[in-house]
């Protein structure tokens, strides 16, 4: 008989191996799924995971997905480390894009280099403001942040829909629910000429280092970790928990808002109902996959970014539904949580000798 036994202390090796195991299990399940759908498993997996990265254009496209995922996930890392279960990156992303897009449209006639910084800053501030609502509800009204942030996500999405169907709809847009195009002065430049990936990826890298420093080298980072590990200990040490809740949520909101405004002014160039393919939700998986460590977030974002690219690829090449992306992402998180069990526990063979010993005692 197999049985689970608690390890004397958590296994560091398993903490790093668990994401690798989860990815392998997801690939195996994916192969079975493709086979079940009557496709060649090897060719499908190749199309999904390898073919998007066979040229520089593909890597640039990966960067397009990685930047927003990283930005959202870096913010969520702070929240989750403090056990603030912010599910609201999606809403903060949308409000950031909506706010920045609104300003870009208002400043459509202004030809100045200041338009872009204003748009970006305002987008980030809008995201921050949206997260501030959740922080206020948690600290002042003691509301469960999982539920409030989810509700704020739905409100944000409906606000975006209202805007593109109503006040921000392009009057010359043949009644499509889309805004007018932003002026060139409001557009985020690409990182490299001829490739789509925008400079937001560079900002994401810089912010990764900044968040890493914050978490590992500052008192605030230490306090966040203590609060998450043991709220009572944090209280005894005199850390102000509410201030930390505010701080983590505001930083996350600003980063997600920045991601949102970068998406509309770096990739899309206008407001549409589909400014996010669910980056804010996928970023949650990135955080768990990346072990709540900034470098892990980079690797996790690449994996999740690849699932977005792969979904588009199998849709184009193999005529399979794009929603396969969500399925892969969900499976990945499930396998990860299951594998994480082995960080704290190990499987033991219940030997007959142990039984005899147990009977004897």
């Amino acid at each position: 008989m197999l049985r689970l036994e608690k390890r004397p202390s958590d296994s560091r090796l398993m903490a790093y191996m668990s994401p690798v195991m989860a990815i392998i299990l997801t690939l195996i399940s994916g192969a079975l799924l493709f086979a079940f759908l009557g496709q060649s498993p090897t060719h499908s997996l190749y199309t999904f995971f390898i073919s998007p990265l066979t040229d520089l254009y593909g890597w640039s496209e990966l960067g397009v997905k990685v930047a927003p995922l990283m930005l959202c996930a870096l913010g969520l890392t702070l929240c989750f480390r403090a056990k603030v279960w912010n599910i609201g990156a999606e809403g903060q992303f949308i409000i950031g894009g909506l706010g920045g897009g609104y300003l870009a449209l208002q400043m459509g006639n202004i030809e100045s280099a200041w338009v872009l910084p204003a748009v970006i800053l305002f987008g980030a501030l809008c995201g921050l403001g949206w997260a501030a609502l959740a922080a206020l509800l948690k600290t002042r009204f003691n509301c469960n942040e999982v539920l409030t942030t989810i509700m704020l996500n739905y409100i944000a999405l409906n606000w975006l829909l209202y805007s593109v169907h109503g006040p921000l709809k392009d009057p010359e847009g043949f009644n499509f629910p889309e805004s007018a195009l932003f002026s060139d002065f409001a557009m985020l430049p690409p990182l490299f000429e001829d490739y789509r990936v925008s400079v937001s990826l560079a900002f994401a890298m810089i912010l990764m280092v900044a968040i890493w420093t914050l978490l590992s080298r500052t008192m605030i980072g230490f306090q966040i970790s203590v609060l998450g590990e043991d709220a009572k200990a944090a209280q005894f040490a005199g850390f102000r928990a509410k201030r930390l809740v505010w701080l983590t949520l505001l930083i996350c909101g600003a980063l997600a808002g920045f991601a949102g405004v970068s998406e509309v002014s770096g990739q899309i160039g206008q407001l549409t109902p589909y400014i996010s393919p669910g980056y804010g939700y996928s970023a949650i998986i990135v955080v768990f996959l990346g072990r709540m460590h900034p470098v892990g977030i980079l690797l996790g974002s690449m994996i999740l970014g690849l699932t977005f690219l792969g979904g588009e690829m199998v849709q184009m090449e193999l005529a399979m539904p794009k929603s396969i992306t969500g399925l892969f992402q969900g499976m990945l998180l499930f396998y990860l949580l299951a594998c994480d069990l082995f960080i704290g526990y190990r499987i033991k063979l219940k030997s007959s000798a142990a039984k005899v010993a147990a009977a004897g005692s």
Binding site: R3, F141, V146, T148, M151, H165, L327, L337
Partner: protein, 308 residues
Amino acid sequence: MDVDLITNILFATLRTGTPLVLIALGEMVCEKSGVLNLGQEGMLLMGAVVGFMFAVISGNTWVGLGASMVAGMLMSGVFALLAVTLVANQVATGLALTIFGIGLSAFLGTDYVGMGIDGIGPWEIPLLSDIPIIGKVLFSHDPLVYLSWILFALVYWTFRKTRVGLIIRAVGENPESANAIGMPVMKVRYAAVIFGGLMTGLAGGYLSLSYTPLWTEGMSAGRGWIALALVVFASWKAERVMLGAYLFGLASIMHLILQGLGFDISPNLLAMLPYAATIVVLMVIASDAMRSKLNTPLALGQPYRPQL
């Protein structure tokens, strides 16, 4: 405002509130046993899509409804395996279940978008449905609305009067003690989680087989999450779950009421209403911190592993 309009509003309120009643009652039982399952939205969508698929394939909506329940139970079984047996973090596992359910339902339902079926029609109860106003409001619904009342009575009675209710509560309040006096903690938690899955699956089937009836991606529109808030709002009491569900039903059909009264407000703005109402309700409830503390199952969200 005329009588017809009020009758229609009350009728639609009960109809719209029904999925919330089902999900929230199931989740309440689950939480009473100490397990927080945030995967409601994912299970709901799976119930909806699987039910719809089976209804189309078999040509029988009742087969579809059965499949919805099985889908909900399977999903919650996966959750129980991870969160109860393997003591994974319940918040993370619930989120995983939702993300997985959204992805899998969209994938499974790709070929079914835009298909139509004959939904489960109303069963007008003889004689009673002839009563003016009340007959229309209470006794002209489809069978799942009546079923939700029966299930409510069952849950209410279980926690008020039966040993089973006591055992579930003991397990949710203090699993160690419950185990010490010989209660099967793990089995009770499994049963409660899977009952929750059955109820949410049923609610999903109600959405795609009766309420709309069709399948579209993400058609649950956050009802699973609203139901989770409802359980908190109801302080884990079945009768307040019913009340809350119907209040939310009313909030969700506000756009129909306002249109009926001649107001012209963007449907997107009005669609925010149930979500905003949820936040307001959470604020009101939580401001009375003492009461919500007293009513919350003590071991809610805490994994339990028996010492071997």
